[in-house]
């Protein structure tokens, strides 16, 4: 029978941040573990951030190819964040990397592969970060 639950907040009973969900073939998983904690789409030559952003406090434009993303709610530790980033430029001539400067600050890098130099050219990047929040 189809059913529908109307709520604003779901909180675990035993542990607030742990709600077990039943997945494919009765496998189970902690709901919060699988959720992306940060999403953003950023113009590399600016500070713009898309409406689709989640848990982003600010984006700062640095030198060529560098942006600093600061999250609103930090991760539990500097190594508890798992960022993955992709460049949306039409050129294949790009490389990306993410430095974890702290539990709340990430340095985004966009390279031009042919020269190995950081670049702002025509670039926007999308980033998602999974991990455990503080």
């Amino acid at each position: 029978m189809a059913s529908e639950l109307k709520v604003d907040t779901i909180t675990g009973v035993t542990t607030a941040g742990e709600i077990t969900i039943t997945l494919e073939n009765s496998e189970s998983q902690i709901l919060q573990k699988g959720l992306a904690k940060v999403t953003a789409n950023i113009q590399v030559d600016a500070t713009s951030n898309s409406d689709a952003s989640l848990n982003v406090s600010s984006v700062a434009d640095g030198a060529a190819g560098l942006n600093t993303l600061t999250v609103t709610n930090p991760f539990s530790a500097i190594k508890s964040a798992v960022p993955c980033m992709e460049n949306h430029d039409s050129s294949y001539n790009r490389g990306t990397g993410v430095d974890d400067a702290s539990a709340s600050v990430f340095i985004l890098r966009l390279f031009r592969s042919s020269t190995s130099a950081l670049t702002d050219d025509e670039g926007d990047v999308a980033i998602t970060i999974h991990g455990d929040l503080a």
Partner: protein, 125 residues
């Protein structure tokens, strides 16, 4: 007291912003890992049983709960990189329901970087 809810759809209290629980489940990452290729220490992870050193620049995270097939979506990104000479890929031929392999190169040669991230979406077995 532990409790269990069985529902098909979630909505906010106003009855808006509907999302099927199947979307929540399918959209949840089934595994993620942050590890160091220099010593293969697991910094933090979800659904990772172990990480194997498969050679210079090669790391194989093994899932605790296996994936349902080998066609899942996997992405990887490195950190603390100083050059675009660094290349990262998940080797398609090494993706199985039990594990996957990340390859990292620097300047065209295999390299054990200290910061590697992997995220997996798809269906569990």
């Amino acid at each position: 007291m532990a409790s269990e809810l069985r529902v098909n759809t979630l909505k906010d209290a106003s009855g808006n912003n509907s999302v099927a629980t199947s979307v929540v489940f399918a959209g949840s990452a089934k595994s993620w890992v942050h590890f160091d290729m220099s010593d293969f220490s697991n910094k933090d992870s979800h659904n990772i049983a172990s990480i194997t050193d498969s050679g210079t620049g090669l790391g194989e995270p093994t899932f605790t709960s296996a994936m349902g097939n080998a066609l899942y979506s996997g992405v990887a990104t490195g950190g603390n990189m100083s050059s675009s000479e660094n290349g990262i890929q998940i080797q398609r031929a090494q993706m199985t329901t039990a594990k996957y392999r990340i390859e990292f190169t620097a300047g065209g040669s295999a390299n054990d970087t200290t910061t590697m991230h992997g995220q997996i979406c798809g269906d569990l077995a």
